[in-house]
């Protein structure tokens, strides 16, 4: 593990790796996402019950999935930062947190927009919605804790510890919220939700959905990579390698 991680403790190594990786995420990401969205919105058949309004699934589900996934990724970065004291991993926490928070927000927002025509209400205290809302608060906590420290290094470390504690808690929160939801008498709306989602999804809808999920992952990862590289440059701006990297680029731009 150490042998594999060690080179990337050097910011410039991570920066160059990111430079190499970025096109591999960004270009296929934009293509896959565009294909998935157009496929989902224009070509997939309409749902027999929900009509066209089900199509919001193509943004809602990927966002909800990766909001969890990116939290786990952030916690892994936090673990690396705490155990091996690697600064680039600390910056990775800060690179991931806002992207994850936005994904969570997208899933909450599209959920509300979807809920209005389907269930007749913007917000329902359904188990999924509630645990997603709490996930959003956890992201906000990480961001707020980082912002509260004047010293950025301390802030990043504290935010990392909080992210780790949060990832231990997420399953507990998740299952307790489900338990809470089944304990309380369910409204007919909630029952309708669970009934609607139970039938397995048709193939013509599943494939664009999977495409969108992949597209969301690639685009969000590309955003994280860009944020991480910005973070690295911001912190290392006075180092010779960063100067060389920056001036080298501008020189190239001048020549072409």
């Amino acid at each position: 593990m150490w042998r594999w991680l060690h080179p990337y403790a050097k910011p410039e190594a991570t920066f160059r790796l990111n430079q190499k990786l970025l096109p591999w995420f960004a270009v296929p990401g934009i293509i896959v996402l565009a294909v998935g969205i157009i496929w989902g919105l224009a070509f997939a058949p309409a749902d027999y019950q929900q009509g066209d309004s089900y199509r919001i699934i193509f943004t809602h589900v990927p966002a909800a999935m990766w909001s969890m996934g990116f939290y786990v990724g952030m916690a892994i970065a936090a673990l690396i930062a705490i155990v091996w004291q690697i600064r680039t991993a600390e910056w990775a926490i800060l690179a991931i947190a806002p992207v994850g928070a936005v994904l969570t927000f997208i899933s909450l927002f599209t959920g509300a927009v979807w809920g209005k025509p389907m269930w007749g209400t913007w917000w329902e205290w359904d188990a999924r919605l509630t645990s997603q809302l709490i996930l959003f608060f956890l992201y906000l906590g990480v961001l707020a804790l980082y912002a509260a420290f004047e010293d950025e290094r301390t802030g990043a470390k504290a935010a990392g510890i909080l992210a780790l504690i949060g990832v231990v808690n997420i399953p507990i929160i998740h299952y307790s919220v489900y338990w809470w939801n089944t304990l309380h008498q369910q409204s007919t709306i909630t029952q309708a939700i669970t009934r609607l989602e139970r039938p397995s999804i048709a193939d013509e809808m599943l494939w664009p959905l999977l495409t969108c999920i992949l597209g969301f992952l690639l685009v969000s990862s590309a955003l994280v990579i860009m944020r991480l590289n910005n973070e690295i440059l911001k912190r290392e701006i006075r180092r010779p390698w960063a100067q060389q990297e920056l001036t080298g680029h501008t020189a190239e731009g001048g020549q072409s």
Binding site: A144, A148, T154, I161, V168, I173, S176, V177, L183
Partner: protein, 227 residues
């Protein structure tokens, strides 16, 4: 030999914390007075009908307990941080986790004891059905150590900040959601005449998990805060 030393240092720490706390009694009393005032506001806000009050009592009592716990939490580390005692604690020749356990224990003792004594009064004020009184007391007994030990993590993370208060609630309340859910579920099942052992057992599990693991998280957080 080493074990004896841990024990002596731990008792010395507990004695010290107790005597420091006893000299600042207002710090101990304020959260509990806050709790009483909040509980009093609810009948004024939602109306004095006994049925409604009895229905919302578990949630009101527990939400107020959470909020009042947040008020008293900073006492755990802030003064020690300011006068440098915290650094000395981190330098002790025993595992720092033990010292943290001692501090959490004292905090729990002083913040939970008044709550446990007042619990019947709160139940009475909010017209909680009598079958649920003992369960309310049990949830408070099992839940307050969780409040202290999870709260300690939050305080340890924010102790070096001046504006820690509002931040503390944002950090801690999402983490305490399971506690609230199981506590109110236990009281509600008891109030409807059913055995409440299930949710109480969950609370016991959360209690074991948090009290054993949080000292390590607190230690890591303190090292970041103290630098």
């Amino acid at each position: 030999m080493a074990k004896i030393r841990t024990a002596t240092i731990l008792t010395a720490l507990i004695k010290r914390d107790l005597s420091v706390a006893m000299r600042q009694r207002s710090d101990l009393l304020n959260p509990i007075i806050f709790l009483l005032v909040v509980i009093t506001l609810f009948p004024l806000g939602v109306g004095p009908e006994p049925e409604i009050l009895g229905r919302i009592a578990p949630g009101v009592i527990w939400v107020s307990a959470l909020l009042s716990a947040l008020l008293g939490l900073e006492r755990l580390f802030r003064d020690d941080f300011r006068d440098g005692a915290l650094e000395q604690m981190l330098l002790l020749p025993v595992a720092t986790e033990w010292a943290i356990v001692g501090k959490i224990f004292v905090h729990w003792l002083l913040s939970a004891a008044p709550l446990l004594i007042l619990a019947p009064l709160l139940a009475l004020l909010l017209n909680l059905p009598q079958e649920a009184w003992f369960t309310l007391w049990m949830t408070l007994l099992l839940g307050t150590p969780v409040l202290s030990s999870v709260g300690a993590i939050g305080v340890a993370l924010t102790v070096s900040l001046n504006k820690g208060g509002a931040l503390l609630s944002l950090l801690l309340l999402p983490l305490l959601v399971p506690l609230l859910i199981f506590a109110t579920a236990a009281i509600e099942t008891a109030a409807s005449g059913l055995p409440a052992l299930g949710p109480l057992a969950f609370m016991g599990a959360i209690l074991v998990l948090t009290t054993t693991l949080s000292p390590f998280a607190v230690h890591a957080a303190l090292r970041v805060s103290v630098n």
